[in-house]
Subunit: 309 residues, 2 copies
Amino acid sequence: MAGMNDHPRFLRFALRPLAALLLVGAPLGASSPPARPLSSADIVAAAPADAWVAVPPEDLLVVDLEGGRQVVIALAPGFAPVHVANIRRLARSSWFAGITVNRVQDNYVVQWGDATEKKPLPEGIVASPPAEYARALKELGFRAMPYRDAYAERVGHAGGWPVASDGTLAWLPHCYGMVGVGRNLAPDTGTGAELYAVIGHGPRHLDRNIALVGRVLSGMEALSALPRGTEALGFYKEGTPRPAIVAAHIAADMPAAERPAFELMRADSRSFADWLTARANRKDDFFIRPAGALDICNALPPVRATLRK
Amino acid sequence: MAGMNDHPRFLRFALRPLAALLLVGAPLGASSPPARPLSSADIVAAAPADAWVAVPPEDLLVVDLEGGRQVVIALAPGFAPVHVANIRRLARSSWFAGITVNRVQDNYVVQWGDATEKKPLPEGIVASPPAEYARALKELGFRAMPYRDAYAERVGHAGGWPVASDGTLAWLPHCYGMVGVGRNLAPDTGTGAELYAVIGHGPRHLDRNIALVGRVLSGMEALSALPRGTEALGFYKEGTPRPAIVAAHIAADMPAAERPAFELMRADSRSFADWLTARANRKDDFFIRPAGALDICNALPPVRATLRK
């Protein structure tokens, strides 16, 4: 994933650090020679197969934008089951085909939907889903990070997801690349026909005010580099060409040869614990002062594309 | 500023909330009728002249990109005086003219400099500036925010700047739109000839590892919407056209009629205190659950363009 292990260094200076000073992942008291110091990228590369969990094809929304760009979104039925069911149904009814990106607000969101607001929703869509803004923490397999968060009492991970919590309830945080459901005023919660992706510093004040339904796993730049809208809230001006969504499918419905496949690193794996520690304590020839901390939005679980199957 | 008061709502639903439930800026115990509830946007609009501080023209770097786009950066001589002096000298020697954007890494940075690495620096440039990564807190006029931060013991503001601190030292945080100095390995600190702007979730692990020298005040979208580089670290592929910087000036040197002018809201103003409170406690017809908190990177002081003078 972009931005994970990198820093602004001089152009063309892209050597890997050879002598990171912090040992990560080396077993304590091991009598074998010291393990090669591991960066967070090393840890991802070395993670064993059981550190990864495949995103079920039923949970992958594959969005084709005009110009041949593809965005793949992992859906989160564990957090927003009714909204996700709606989104699957919209995809399976080809409803998303022909809608457009209508809003690109810098440092905030890209939002897509039916600009005419007249396209009838397919049969079976739950018109007013429940407010799936939080769920019970206790069945979630939550692993807390030992770092502060500005917004929540606790932050950490469950499965392949970032999670914020008050100790009782748990919710997905509004981080870069997270996908949510545009809605009107409360108590309306949106159907899922209008979606947005976060393209700026995490607008965490939206947490528990809107249903988050997923995370962009690939193709983020097809959204984040779109021209910003010039009107209020970043909407495109009337008459401006809007980037069109050509098609959107659930991966499970696609022919095997065309089906993208991704894995997320499991929050309960040793590799993930090591990865968090390495991310929070970067120290190498470049990093002088390790942060000793990590923001949840800088700790979205590693993703890898796997063979289409 | 984009993204300050907005939320993802249905397309074309852009009514201003009429009945925000949280009173902001209403004097306690006032006997006059309750003040009209103020949103953070209202507070900015109503802020008196003395709540604003003009950015000195000597501290404004005006960067013209090809295609007629302009980016205006407020420099921070209070935090990185030697680096800022270098940048002024580079601008005044027309050194930046003709360099290019070489790196655009999604959710991280846009970086520009001399792709040939052969352009000689002008006379008088300090080749190895001191590591201006932090300064003493005590003379800064620091106003702490009452909210947690993942990375620093305290966060708040001074003048028109966001500030992080350990109680003794103070530094600028790596937030969206902040500008820093590309460097090689420590103890090198970079001259200021290669700069980057943050275009993603604040990479705060860079704090105190690199010199921050400013903040983009306008034209951010000319950087953040650039095509992402396809090579390692987001560098553009060799042979790909790179967005050129046509010119860069210090505003003080520009003809009065062409000179951009900006003001920042003062951290020690009543308006700013009200603005922070309103930002941390959004509640209106849309917001169901106020966050009760605010990340420093979601609290960059309001900016306004003023008449050119």
